[in-house]
Symmetry: C2
Subunit: 213 residues, 2 copies
C-alpha cells in the first residue's frame, strides 16, 4: 500500500526556525506527503514559499492545552486562514467535557465550523484521557456540527492514539466523520496498523522513518 | 521566614472544572497566598467570585509553547485583562530567540508592554533551554521594554528552574527586573533555596506542601 497519501507531516516542536520549516516542507514535497502541520507563527512564512499547489498547510489552534477562550481560538483561527492555512486542527476545551457542558460545547463547535467554512476542520479531543462514553458523546457533537475529522491527540498530553479507540470510532462513526490518528506513531508498522484499524490520516513527525522503512 | 507572600499558586492542569478553580482560590485565601495562576478560560469565572481584594488573578498567554502569532497573543492578553486578569505570564516566541531576531523580539515586547500597561507583565523564557549568552541578551531586552518579571519556565517543557540561573539573574540584573522561579519546585526546602538565590516569587502547584511542611 502507498502510505504517503495518508500522512500529515507534523512539525510542531518549539524553537524551530524558518530554515527548519523550509526543510520540513521540502521533505513533504520529496516524499509526496500532502499535508504539513506547523505552528500558527509560521503559516504566513510557509504560505509565501509557493508550495500551495503541492502541499496543504495545516495549523494548530488553542494548542496543546485547549483552555484558551472561544474568542481567542476564533481569532487565532481566522488569522491563520487569512495567513494561508488550508486545514485547522483545534484543541477542544477539555474542561467543558469534564463538566458535561454540552450546550456550550455544541455552541462552540458551531462557531468554529462557521469560522472556517470551506476549510478542513479537525477537532483534537485527547482520546487517551476520555471514557468510552465521553468519546461517544463528543463524536456525536462533532458530527452534528459538521466537523470533518476527529483527531485523537496533541502528542503533548496523555498517551496518544490507541488502536482500540480507532477501531471503536471506525465501527460506530466511520461513515460519518473522518479519523486522524496522532500521538506516538513513529514507525511504518504502527502507521499501517492504524490505517488498517480505520484511520483516514496519520499525523506524525517521523514521516521519513515511516516512509523509508 | 514567612514563605506565603512569595508564592504564586499555579492551577494550570488541563481539564479542571469551575469547582476545581474555586477550591484552588479557597486554598489561596486559607494560606494567604497573594496570587493564583489559572488558564485564560477561567479568568472571567474567577473574577466573578469576589475574591479580588484578597488575591490577584494571573493568567497565561501563548501558553505553553509560545508559537502563537503576536496578534493572537495581544488579543488573548487584552481579553484576559477585560475579563479581570491582574497579572500576565506570557510565553516568548522561542523561534525568534533561535533566529537572533532582536528587532522583532524588541518590537513584540514593546507591544506586549503597551497592551497591559498598569498590569504586572512576566515573560516566560524557558531558561533551561537557553545558553547563558541568550539569557543575557533576552534579559536586557526585557529590561529595556519595562517587563516586570522574567519567569523561568512553563513547567510543560524543558527542565524547569535551576538555582544557578536564578543566581546569575540576581547578580547581574537583580536591581532591574524581578525574578519568578517556576517549573519543578515542589517542596519548602526547594522554595527557600530559590528565594535565597534571589527569586522574588515562586510559581508552584504544590503550594499546600510548600507551606505545611
Amino acid at each position: 500500500m502507498k502510505i504517503n497519501g495518508y500522512l500529515e507531516h507534523t512539525a510542531l516542536k518549539q524553537g524551530m526556525t524558518e530554515i527548519n520549516i523550509r526543510d520540513n516542507l521540502e521533505l513533504c514535497v520529496a516524499y509526496n506527503v500532502p499535508v504539513i502541520v506547523i505552528p500558527p507563527s509560521f503559516v504566513k512564512y510557509a504560505s509565501s514559499l509557493n508550495i500551495k499547489e503541492k502541499i496543504s498547510i495545516c495549523t494548530v489552534i488553542g494548542f496543546p492545552l485547549g483552555y484558551n477562550t472561544l474568542k481567542t481560538k476564533l481569532f487565532e483561527m481566522e488569522e491563520a486562514i487569512s495567513n494561508g492555512a488550508d486545514e485547522i486542527d483545534l484543541v477542544i476545551d477539555n474542561s467543558l467535557l469534564k463538566e458535561n457542558n454540552w450546550d456550550i460545547i455544541n455552541y462552540e463547535l458551531a462557531e468554529y465550523r462557521k469560522a472556517c467554512e470551506g476549510k478542513i476542520l479537525k477537532i483534537i479531543v485527547e482520546t487517551s484521557l476520555l471514557s468510552r462514553s465521553d468519546l461517544d458523546n463528543i463524536v456525536n457533537s462533532l458530527i452534528n456540527n459538521r466537523v470533518d475529522f476527529i483527531k485523537t491527540s496533541t502528542g503533548f498530553v496523555g498517551g496518544g492514539a490507541k488502536l482500540e479507540d480507532i477501531k471503536f470510532l471506525k465501527i460506530f462513526f466511520g461513515n460519518k466523520i473522518k479519523i486522524k490518528a496522532s500521538g506516538g506513531i513513529k514507525t511504518k508498522d504502527q502507521a499501517l496498523e492504524f490505517i488498517d484499524a480505520g484511520a483516514d490520516r496519520i499525523g506524525s513527525s517521523s514521516t521519513k522513518l515511516i516512509i523509508e522503512n
